[in-house]
Every structure is written in C-alpha cells, then in structure tokens.
C-alpha cells in the first residue's frame, strides 16, 4: 500500500499549497496584498473566524453541529460593550462575554446530552434565542463609545503584533493541546468515530459532550468581545453568518462531517483560505455578490477533493 512521495506530500500539505497559491495569485494581481500592514489586517479580520472555527471543529468531530456561533458572538459582544461603556477596565467585558459564551455552550451541551435532541435543532433554537437576547438588551441599537481599555483587546498591539493575532495564537495553542495532547480531543474523536463503542470503552460521553459544546461557547463569547473591541461597538446584528465561514473553514481544513476526523492545523489553514479569499476578492474589486458565489464553489470543490483523496486510499 505504498503511495508515491508526491501523493503523500499533497495529502498532508494539499490545502497549504492551495493557500500559498491563492496568496501568490492575489499578490500578482494586486501587489500591495503582500505588504506587511495589509497582511496583518487580513489576519486581524480572520482571527475571530479561526477562533470560533476551533470551537465548532470539536463539535463537528463528534458528528454534532453548532449553528449559532455568530449569534453567540453578538450576544457576547453587546454584553462586553455594555460593560465597557463606563470606566470598568476592559478585561471585565472580556470576562463577561467569555462567561456568557460558556453558559450558552453549557446549556447546549446539557440540553443535547439530556434530551438527545439533534444538535442541529438545539443550536438552531439557541441561535434565535441569543440573537433575540442581544436585540432585547440593546433595544436593537449598537452600543458604542466604548472605553479605550476595552478597545485595546481588538485594536491594540503588543510590541508590533496586533492583539487579535495574539488571541489567535493563544487559541491555536489551547485548541492544539486540547486536540492532540489531552483526552478531550481523543474522546471527541472516539465519540464521533463510534459513539456506541465509546460508551463501551468507558468514556463518559455525557461529560465530554458538555465540555465540547462549552468550549465552543467560550470561543464564541471571547471572539464576540474581540470583534466588538475591534470595531469599538457592540452591535446586536454583528457576526451574522460567521458560523458559515467558520464551518466552511473547518471542513475545507479536512474536518469530516461524518465525525472522528479533524485537526487544529487543518482548521487554521482552511480558515485562512476562506479569509484570504474574502479579503483578496475584496481588494481585487470583485463584487460582493460574486464573492459569495465564488466562496460557495470553492467550499464544494474543496470537500469533493478531500472526499476523493479519502476514497483513493481504499
């Protein structure tokens, strides 16, 4: 069953190659794309997608899904913004947003585990609940005029690195440790690989499912606050549709909707592909409508390629 070196290489780095090609093509068409300032801008925008992408990847690996990522971000964002209207230090808003995310994830995990309703339905409900709550709290209006200490979390720098990129790095490390070096990730794979086998292997499915949804909630709450801090406003309509880009990035990165398969590295690359494509097409002046169409095609083609790769192995 030996495979050629080339195909082993493309299996492992296929998406990375596509990402690099994408960057090269866009840079040729629009040379300023590669400038340091633009590049860090792109990363700043992508950061929140990747963070929620990590969260939802663990869920997808268990064969679950969370459709509410964007709404949880919005609720986290407006709560954080409300905290940041006065003189409270910015960290308070960050913590509040993260905690509300945690609570949402915890509720999702508990409801899904106890009632056994499909995650699709549960999180669909949670999507409108949280979006509604965000609208209710703010009366439908964005919360702005936020203090500087809070805005630092979205638009500050540490040394020369913008803060969103710092958070991206931190969540990448946390997710990588959870995925590859703790029972958390192994058990997520086990549950998605074969839930009944996992039960008989003595894995506490209930506990880990709840933890996995909770982690996703934490990612969303935190990312929501970062987004609000970056644009200096907590809008109840923020992050609409972010879940789709996050899930797409995860799937392009090799996460299998059938469960059991996925990696942090893959999600990072997959999300970067989506992000680079978004901002690249923008810079090239492609109309927003066409951007959506192109993105859709790329997602489908990427997954088809991945499927074929898997089938080839059999």
């Amino acid at each position: 069953m030996k495979k050629s070196k080339l195909s082993q290489f493309t299996d492992k780095f296929g998406m990375l190659i596509i990402l690099i090609l994408l960057v090269i093509v866009i840079s040729i068409l629009h040379p300023s794309f590669l400038s340091a300032s633009n590049f860090s801008n792109v990363l700043k925008q992508i950061a929140v997608y990747v963070i929620i992408g990590y969260g939802v990847t663990f869920i997808i690996i268990t064969t679950g899904i969370d459709l509410g990522l964007g709404s949880y971000m919005a609720l986290g964002g407006v709560l954080a913004a409300l905290c940041a209207k006065g003189t409270l230090p910015g960290i308070v808003g960050m913590i509040v947003a993260t905690l509300i995310g945690l609570a949402i994830g915890l509720i999702n995990g508990l409801v899904i585990s106890i009632t056994k309703i499909p995650p699709f339905i549960c999180t669909l409900g949670m999507t409108t609940i949280t979006r509604g709550a965000a609208l209710l709290i703010t009366n439908g209006k964005p919360v702005s005029q936020l203090n500087k200490s809070f805005c630092w979390f979205g638009s500050g720098v540490v040394g020369f690195i913008p803060t969103p990129i710092i958070w991206l790095i931190i969540f990448t490390i946390i997710s990588w440790i959870l995925m590859d070096h703790m029972k958390f990730g192994q058990y997520a794979r086990a549950i998605g690989g074969n839930e009944r086998a996992a039960i008989i292997s003595g894995i506490n499915i209930f506990k880990y499912k709840v933890l996995i949804y909770t982690y996703c909630g934490i990612c969303c709450g935190f990312a929501g606050a970062v987004l609000a801090a970056r644009v200096a406003s907590g809008s109840p309509g923020a992050a609409e549709g972010y879940e789709l880009d996050a899930i797409a990035g995860s799937v392009i990165g090799g996460t299998s909707m059938a469960g059991g398969v996925g990696s942090v590295w893959g999600v990072l690359i997959g999300s970067l592909i989506i992000g680079v494509m978004n901002s690249g097409l923008n810079m090239l002046g492609v109309s927003a409508y066409w951007q959506e169409i192109v993105k859709g095609i790329v997602i489908i083609v990427a997954v088809i390629m991945d499927e074929r790769k898997n089938r080839k192995k059999l």
Partner: protein, 505 residues
Amino acid sequence: MGDNYILKADHITVKFPGVLALDDAQLHIKRGTVHALMGENGAGKSTLMKVLIGINRIQPGGTVEFNGQQVTITSPNDALQQGIAMVHQELSPIPEMTVADNIYLGREKMRGLIIDKRDSIRRAQELLDKLNIRVDPTEKMKNLSIANTQMIEIAKAISYGAQLIIMDEPTSAITEVEVKHLFEMVNNLRDSGISIIYITHKMDEVFEIADEVTVLRDGQFIATKSASEIDKDGLIQLMVGRDLKDIFNKETVPIGESVLEIKNFTRKKEFRNVSFDVKAGEIVGMAGLMGAGRSELMMALFGVTKLEEGEVYIRGEKVEIKEPLDAIKHKIAFLTEDRKLTGLYLPLTVKENIMMTNLNQFTSGGRLQHRKMEKVCEEEVQKFTIRTPSIKQKVELLSGGNQQKVLVSRWMLADPDILILDEPTRGIDIGAKSDIYALMTKLAKEGKAIIMISSELPEIIGMSDRVVVMHEGKLTGILDRSELDQERILAYAAGELDDYKEAQS
C-alpha cells in the same frame, strides 16, 4: 461448450493501488449446484465476487462467461439484469419501508404518479409463498430478524430472475435453527435449477450444503474439488497451506475460586432471573439461539444498560456497576459482538483504537504521553501479529481478523481479570481464529475468568469448561464439559430441556 456451466471466469486479475488482490484466479460454477467459495480473509473471495457483480474491474486477459456467453458486467444493476445477484453479509434494507416495498424498490408498478402498493403486496405475497418464507409483506423491514431480512434479500434476488445467487457468509449472524431454514431454502433453489455461490468460513456448512468447493489463497486459485472427495482437514490445508490439526487446542487448566457471580439478573423484556458464576481459569460458554438474551445480559453486566433486578459479586464482594467505566474499574473487559457497530472507531488509526480505553494509563498531568503510547502500541501490534503497514493506519482499512485483534489488544492492555467475549471469532479467518483460541487458553492459564458467547456450537464445545444455555431470556441449563454434545445443547437452547422450570414459575 460450456452449457454445463452457468459461470466460467478465467484469468481474473484485479489490481488495487499497490496490491494484487486477485492473481490469475478462476471460478467455474456448474449449473444448478451450490458452490462453496473458501479462503482466509484477504484471500480474494470478496474481490472476486465484486468482479461478478460489476464493482471491480479486471485486468485485460481475463474473461467472464455467463450462460455460455462472454459478458462484461459494469455495475451491480447490470449484474442483476444479466441474472447475477448478491446477498451481502452486511444487509442493507431500508428499515422504515415494508417488506413488499423493499423487494420491489425501483420496480414499483405505477398508476400514473401513484405507486400501486396493493400490486407490490400481492406479488410479494406470491413470491414469499413460493419460497416458503413466513413473513408478512406489509411488515416493516426494521421489525424483521436478521435471518428473515436475509430471506427477503434472497427473495428479492429471485424476483429479479437471478440464475446465479451469491451468498456472502449468510450464516455469520443467524442461529443454528435459522441456519436449517436457510439450508432448506438453498436446497429448494438448487432443485429449481438456480446456481449458488456460497461464501463461508464454516467447514461444517461446506460439507452439509455444497456440491463443489473452490479455495482461494492470497488472491490465487488453489483448487476446485467436489465436496465428496475432500474432508475437513484437507480443506483447511488447502486454505491455509499448512496442516492445522486442532484449531481449538483446549488445555485443561486448574480451576480456582469463583471470581464473578451474577444473581437474579433481570431486565424483563430481555432476560429474567439469570444466575451463574465464573471461576478463575475457567471458560464459561454461553449458548442459545438468537434473541435468547445472552448479549443483552452481558450488556447489563457491563453497565451499558440498566438492570431492573440483580446483583453482581466479584470475589464474593457485592459491587455496583452503573456504567461501563465501573465495569472497567473492576477489571472487566467486554469484546462486543459487532466489531463495527460497538467496537471499532473506523475513521481512527490503529493506535487510537488500541489506546482509547486506556488513555488514563498514558496521561500525566492531563497530558497524553504520545511517545509511550506509540512504543506500547508497536509492541501490541507485534504481540498480536496485527497485520498493518503502520500504527497510524486507519483501522477501517484492516481485514476483519486484524480488526478483531486490534480490539482484543485494546482490552488486554486494560489488564482485565474477567473477560466477556461476545462472538469473538465471528467473520474472521481460521488463522486469526486459532490465534484467538490460543490467547483464550493462555489467559485461562493466567487465572482469568472468561465468558464466551458463541453461536457456533463447535466453538462452544471446543473451548468451554462449562456451558450456560439460555432460551428466550431464561436460563435453561448449566452443563459441564463432560456432558457437552451438540444435540443436548440445542435441546436446552430450544427450551425442550429446562433444568430451572419450577424455580422460575
């Protein structure tokens, strides 16, 4: 030429990337005969069958002659049209649809845009009557036993006018009584002129049902023999290429204290009032028909399902097992009946599959010790002779026998004192079977207590020190090794003999 043969396949070579799955193989089937196809897992039986139903492509030079004419079969549907049907080992009916709808799926008689259900039901009833299958055509598929589901698949093949029916291990998941029904049906089909390719791992069946047998080994044709001119040993020798005198190798081991005792186990719909014990060094076989409640009983013992009544004692001490984790803590291991359904993590690697129950042993400060795991895993692969290119191979790409060894290795790593083995050798080849029997003997010598559920009586008789027999959820007898014989066990399994009758009424 060839009118004597329904099928002549010659010089069949099938290549997969990097593997020569079939190497110049041949298969000649006489019209109106039952032809057994044998060989270890990986010998190329399934590959050859997939050629006949148009899934696998053959290399140039090979020919398939069907009904005296050279044919090219392009898809399973094409095979059906030409008269070749396959009843797969893993059946795939549509559970929510009725028997009639399943049989005539895709061939419904239409009245405009509306399916004429009454017509399907009528035709299905005629078909089932003709074949002597006692199943209501309006029953939903999901309510049928595995045996009946299989019967329906065969009926479906007949309804297509199949002249050659391939049966892939049809008896691997059904009980002895159901096997008898199946054999009656196979005999009737043969009498009506239909030819059958019968794939099996079970020697006895070959001699009971087959007219001829073809043996494949490592993708090559070994021999075609008349069933009357060969015996079991000869057949095994052809299959494995070496002499295998007694695959069971049962050794007498000193039997110690009682290790596990269950008392009055009850889940009313599954089993009632079952009590027995297992001693150190003892192999207790559990015999019974499908639906006798043996697997369900073990599920409850292991904490997968909840007991309604009953107590568990380990070395005389009462223990509570509420979930599988408790059972594992009490050093019980449970090799389940259905590898794919409840055992393996198919998309995961060999390493992950072996380690999954045992991560606690390899966690330090919450962090997994990958290097230690890999080292242990390599040792396990050696120890259990798991044939895999690497421990990072996806387990779904391994053969059945090797998959089973992965599961055995998983549980052995947990270092259990009590082993529950549910159909431990189902669907695996003789080499792997014999490895598993040897392992059981070794474990018994080490003083482990073993419960083995098996639907294969030779296996029960070959390996057990005592046999617990169940019938419809009730214990009917506990037999010592000295009183084991096939008929006696069957009588208890069928409920004709019952040592516990009064106690339970």
